[in-house]
Amino acid sequence: AQTVTQSQPEMSVQEAETVTLSCTYDTSESDYYLFWYKQPPSRQMILVIRQEAYKQQNATENRFSVNFQKAAKSFSLKISDSQLGDAAMYFCAYLMEYGNKLVFGAGTILRVKS
């Protein structure tokens, strides 16, 4: 079964600085999708970024970018120029190519200091 591991329960970053959240996953599949979701205190799950496993190029969305290392099964999220609004729980998630079950990690709480 696929598993997703987020080894950092909590992270802190100073406003305007850069932070990287870690995620590793275990799968025997070659084609799949990876996501980062953000859950602020409002509890709304917000999609941050998506990566297709067949793409070598790392996905980027404004201040958010990923470092996808397929061989190492690693999928980290980098947030540049951190803002107070980035404070939230961040979940890494895996989706099989022909499946619909999103498998989530346990989450990382990100605190942003002003």
Binding site: F35, F91, K101, L102
Partner: protein, 113 residues
């Protein structure tokens, strides 16, 4: 687009009572998912539909939970009888297709006393 809509946002009920959670997916999305989030278990998939048909309900306690999707724009998750261990945030999500990201509703916080 209004996004995924869930109601109610909060529900407090007594043990043994019936609870019904409602969800309206994004128009045009063929897949609908029900998740439960707790501190202990994190986010768990309970059940999902494709074109109104249940595709997988292996994560759902079937003795007390039931999920229906009578039409493409409405789904319910019913708990009868409710128990304190059902206290959680329940999310509904929808997606366009197998390979597409899932969009979540705001969730329903359920408290069973």
């Amino acid at each position: 687009d209004a996004g995924v809509i869930q109601s109610p946002r909060h529900e407090v009920t007594e043990m043994g009572q019936e609870v019904t959670l409602r969800c309206k997916p994004i128009s045009g999305h063929d897949y609908l998912f029900w998740y439960r989030q707790t501190m202990m278990q994190g986010l768990e998939l309970l059940v999902y539909f494709n074109n109104k048909a249940v595709m997988d309900d292996s994560g759902m306690p079937k003795d007390r939970f039931s999920a229906k999707m009578p039409n493409a724009s409405f789904s319910t998750l019913k708990i009868q009888p409710s128990e304190p261990r059902d206290s959680a945030v329940y999310f509904c999500a929808s997606s366009l297709s197998v390979r597409y990201e899932q969009y979540f509703g705001p969730g329903t916080r359920l408290t069973v006393t």
